[in-house]
């Protein structure tokens, strides 16, 4: 199956083209099922490729499938080539798997939308781009997918573009991502200039053999990190992600939680030899940025009242954990957390979508409560997702978060302590959300009269197409952590599988204090999650303590307002000044040359008087002067 790896992106492409041509005729639900089928087919092919790879020796598990030469320009040779190795296939597995489930869910969620088929058109295009991103064998193919997912993200966030806020959020996401894309592009140029190739194989080999200077490796790695910061919503470019929740909930689940936003982590894992040969401060910087984001976003999530915004900030926070892992040299843990996070965060988003659907579009958690009775399946699956993200053993999130914290401790105890506080906050705000939505008293009754979209204001359970993905993802959130258990080296299944890809960059923590006391750290993490849960329980369920939700946290530390204030005020003026400089100085220089030539030509023009006798006199004077020169100066007689 290895040589048909191109089928993995080709199937969503087929779906995209079919819906593009026959979308209206397919209509609802035909277009949705076609899209689901195509992504499901991709998943099946991925499984085939996985089986093929598993039958080989660990060292031989990398296959490059070149389709054609894409950019043949002298020494710049870029192929449209796919790389099937443990990392890309792991990504493909969960991207296609979760995408298929979310496509199925969206068939139910988008029911009755006038642009039903267009939604699936974009979704399939997104899956295609994401698969190009992870399968690409060089930076350019990845960049094609990178831009593709950004564009689809824009289309899908502003899918309901009649709403002003959705249109604005789409633009915000796109423009913020462009800032990061700048870093990606410069990294590509720098890589080509230094190594002469932009294929991952070439770049990584150059880093390993030492052909690449340390400063260049640092430059490329950090510029790629700039790209990753934009795409994966890290400080200081995180603020587009919470606004991206304006899109339909399946989009939030698929693009803004499970897949696209993890692209940055994937990219840094892909170039781990570069990071390994970069200056020491580069990974440390990545770890600090990741951890700062994780903590910062977690504090904001504590005071949000929109059901999806809590999850959005939580996503930013969890992505911060993944960057902490990358910075600590724990690439396996980063991918591990990416996978488990994809399971439980997709589950939580789909659960919140189910709640919103059942509440007829209500998103404010202050108007929910006691929904567990009316929406039992949603409630149970959401609770499983909550336990997974809160870090309660043995659910998936516990194992992956713990592994990240273990590596963070080995790098620096300070990182570990802040990471631990963040995980406490995570447990706290997620418990708050679960209690506000599913427990307590029913606060939606007084708003009953306002809504009543279905003629009946009582929240209702969602249809089967929406519940099936919830159940499947809940199952994965329970068992997802078992692919990498810390108890024995034999249980490091994911670690062994990924080893050929990350062996250069992966840090060996055997023998450190943290590794020797890993069970102690496990217990501390578990206890702290439970403390967080109990604290939130006391505040929001028992009401023993008054809730602390300062306005500054609800307003996200005024970061958003600060950025727009700066960009609207001094930033705007700075760009106006630049504009003035461009128009007066740069354009002035160009126009000045033109004006000078025109002015001097106007003067010279007058010599051409039209009087023949004047020309004759000028000629005569010239001849005489020449004669004088020859005779007197040169001495020729």
């Amino acid at each position: 199956m290895l040589d048909v790896v191109w089928l993995i992106p080709a199937l969503p492409l087929t779906g995209f083209l079919l819906i593009l041509l026959f979308g209206r005729r397919l209509g609802e639900p035909g277009a949705g099922y076609l899209a689901t089928l195509m992504v499901g087919g991709s998943f099946a092919v991925t499984v085939g490729v996985l089986i093929d790879l598993l039958s080989k020796n660990a060292e031989e598990r990398a296959h490059v499938e070149t389709l054609f030469s894409w950019v043949p320009v002298d020494s710049l040779q870029v192929d449209l080539a796919f790389l099937a190795d443990p990392l890309s296939i792991t990504m493909c597995l969960f991207v296609t798997g979760i995408s298929a489930l979310i496509h199925l869910y969206a068939v139910g969620y988008m029911h009755g939308d006038p642009r039903f088929s267009k939604f699936f058109l974009y979704l399939n295009l997104f899956v295609l781009s994401m698969l190009l991103l992870v399968l690409g064998e060089n930076l350019l193919v990845t960049f094609l997918g990178w831009e593709g997912v950004g564009t689809c993200s824009y289309f899908l966030i502003s899918f309901w573009h009649e709403r002003d806020s959705a249109a604005t959020a789409g633009k915000k996401a796109f423009i913020t991502n462009r800032v990061g894309d700048w870093g990606f592009m410069i990294a590509m140029f720098l890589g080509f200039q230094a190594v002469g190739t932009i294929s991952y194989g070439g770049l990584n080999a150059a880093a390993e053999s030492g052909a690449l200077a340390e400063s260049t490796a640092t430059g490329i790695a950090l510029l790629l990190f700039v790209g990753a910061v934009g795409k994966s919503a890290q400080l200081p470019l995180y603020f587009w992600l919470p606004d991206a929740m304006e899109g339909p909930t399946p989009v939030s689940a698929l693009i803004h939680a499970a897949t696209m936003v993890t692209a940055g982590v994937f990219l840094l894992t892909r170039v781990n030899p570069l990071l390994e040969h970069a200056a020491d401060w580069a990974p440390t910087l990545i770890a600090i940025v990741g951890l700062a984001t994780a903590f910062f976003a977690a504090t904001i999530a504590v005071a949000q009242n929109d059901i999806k915004r809590v999850l959005a900030y939580s996503t930013v926070s969890q992505l911060g954990y993944m960057f902490l892992a990358v910075g600590s040299g724990a690439y396996v843990a980063a991918i591990f957390h990416m996978v488990t996070h994809a399971f439980f965060k997709a589950l939580l988003f789909l659960g919140s979508g189910s709640v919103i659907h059942g509440m007829h579009g209500e998103q404010d958690m202050r108007r929910m409560g006691a929904l567990r009775v009316l929406m039992p399946v949603t409630a149970i699956t959401f609770i499983i997702g909550w336990l997974a993200i809160a870090g309660v053993p043995p659910f998936a999130g516990f194992w992956s978060k713990d592994e990240i914290l273990l590596f963070a401790f080995a790098k620096s105890p300070v990182l570990y302590v802040i990471g631990l506080i963040t995980s406490l906050l995570t447990a706290y705000y997620m418990t708050r959300q679960v209690i506000m939505v599913f427990f307590g008293e029913a606060r939606w009754k007084d708003q009953a009269a306002e809504h009543g979209a279905h003629g009946d204001a009582t929240p209702h359970e969602s249809p089967g197409t929406m519940l099936l993905p919830l159940v499947a993802l809940a199952g994965l959130s329970v068992v997802g952590g078992f692919i990498q258990l810390p108890f024995a080296d034999e249980l490091h299944v994911l670690g062994k599988w990924l080893h050929p890809v990350v062996e250069i960059g992966e840090r060996d923590i055997h023998g450190t204090w943290a590794y020797d006391n890993k069970y102690l750290l496990l217990v501390i993490a578990a206890v702290l999650s439970i403390v967080g849960i109990l604290a939130a329980f006391a505040v929001y369920q028992k009401r023993k303590v008054r809730a602390v939700e300062p306005v500054i946290l609800e307003q996200a530390w005024y970061y958003d307002r600060g950025v727009s204030g700066f960009m609207g005020g001094p930033g705007r003026r700075a760009f106006d000044a630049l504009n003035w400089f461009d128009r007066t100085i740069v354009d002035g220089a160009v126009n000045g040359v033109g004006r000078l030539v025109r002015g001097s030509a106007g003067g010279v023009r007058k010599v051409q008087s039209g009087y023949v006798r004047q020309y004759a006199s000028a000629l005569a004077v010239g001849v005489v002067l020449l004669l004088i020169w020859f005779v007197v100066v040169r001495g020729i007689v």
Binding site: S609, Y611, R613
Partner: protein, 108 residues
């Protein structure tokens, strides 16, 4: 027979001096006269002054090249007369009393 009464033998210097005088007359005429026809004749005068110098020097130096150059100048002068006179006649037909200074429509 005294040297004074003896007929002076013309040397090539004489011819060269005559050429120079003719050339100066032609050049001066070109600069001061306004009638296009007269200016045209002045140009012819200058050309023939040069021709005279060519022939005198060719004889003096015993080199045939000077006389060859004269033939070229004659051909060019003939061609010039055809074109130049054609233009002048057509101008004078349209504007009977035109001077060279009136013909300055193409000034820059």
């Amino acid at each position: 027979m005294s040297a004074l009464l003896a007929t002076p033998q013309p040397t090539s210097t004489w011819y060269l001096l005559l050429g120079a005088v003719l050339f100066a007359i032609g050049a001066l005429g070109l600069m001061v006269r306004r009638n296009p026809l007269v200016m045209f004749m002045c140009i012819e005068l200058m050309l023939n002054a040069v021709n005279l110098s060519f022939v005198a020097l060719a004889r003096d130096l015993g080199d045939i090249s000077g006389q060859t150059a004269v033939l070229f100048v004659l051909v060019v002068a003939a061609a010039e007369v055809v074109v130049g006179l054609g233009i002048i006649v057509s101008i004078l037909r349209r504007r009977p009393n035109a001077t060279a200074d009136d013909l300055s429509e193409l000034k820059g």
